[in-house]
Assembly symmetry: C2
Homo-oligomer: 206 residues x 2
């Protein structure tokens, strides 16, 4: 038997992440969080003022991480294609590495009280603005074709976020392979519907 040397604060937050992700915020009790952390429910209140504070902490830490990384990627001098790759790579890596945390961010916004909700939604808007600015840059450079930046950003963010739902570390694909596939789908088309001329040409080559 090894003892668990993590601080109580860390163990409490880890337990909250696990339960909020599996059962949802409202279905998770402070008693159960405490049980998993190995303490009594009342002891949580020495470290955190409320259950809501646990949720806010989880969301803030990881939204800040997502934004800070993206700011660093976009902020330095760059080649557009590489920058685009790094941006979505960051999104997919964080969402798969911290799957329960980002799942909570995506599903428990409504469990926040109005003040906290505003703060977290502001971080999400910042992230979307950064992504949209990057796409805008590519369009202005003529490196990507003209498109509705907002719609494209929402579509890409949605499909990259969803990766975390099915990705299994140690499975058929590594995360780097998944990133490569998604980058290809985003920049070269998901399905590549061929017109009749293309189909005829391909048949001729056989």
């Amino acid at each position: 038997m090894q003892q668990d040397n993590r601080s109580a604060r860390v163990k409490i937050l880890a337990a909250a992440v696990q339960l909020f992700a599996e059962y949802g915020y409202h279905a998770s009790s402070m008693r159960e969080i405490a049980r998993i952390a190995g303490i009594q429910a009342a002891s949580i209140y020495y470290h955190y003022p409320s259950k809501q504070a646990l949720l806010v902490e989880i969301m803030q830490v990881h939204m800040n991480q997502l934004n800070t990384n993206l700011e660093r990627i976009i902020g330095k001098p760059h080649n557009f294609e590489q920058c685009l790759y790094d941006a979505f790579s960051n999104h997919i890596i964080l969402h798969t590495t911290y799957k329960p945390e980002f799942f909570i961010i995506d599903t428990e916004i409504r469990a926040l009280d109005p003040e906290n909700r505003g703060r977290i939604l502001c971080l999400r808007d910042q992230y979307e603005d950064l992504i949209q600015g990057l796409l805008q840059e590519g369009m202005e450079q003529g490196v990507i074709s003209q498109t509705d930046v907002k719609i494209a950003s929402y579509a890409i963010i949605a499909m990259c976020t969803e990766v975390a739902q099915w990705f299994r570390p140690g499975g058929r694909l590594t995360v780097q392979q998944v990133i490569e596939i998604y980058f290809q789908m985003i920049t070269k088309g998901l399905l590549n519907l061929k017109d009749n001329a293309e189909i005829a040409e391909e048949s001729a080559h056989i």
Copy 2:
């Protein structure tokens, strides 16, 4: 003042949809559902055996509608491109028309007890299988390029589902225009990253 002629069953379910979507299943009380439906909480139990039954009813009705429509679209003799269009058109139209209902389906699976969860997840798997079968058909016909069918289906479903989050009826775009944009993004690429030869060619044309 007009009286509300809908049956009690309908009013109860509509109230449940509204509250489950806005606050989540566990954060919505039977008392509040009853208040919105204009009756007492105890009266709900004449129409539905439990709160869980309300959730199951909402999910089943709309997943069945989604599947039934798609089966009809795929089942009849068809041109592949048109069929693909109709399939995603069905997805986007239902998800925007019944936005709260599908939002509940997407976020409250974990609120179902194990037996009900299995039943609903089975309907979702059926839907994914139908979409994947369609993509497989297109690949075998050579109408779309070789791709990982599962990954492509997950990516496309995710981006089409997300439309409901930002789409506003009466806004800048009609739902038909949105469907057209998404069909283009899916079949012709979201961003269309150009290589250097293409950029040079475009410059030459100016």
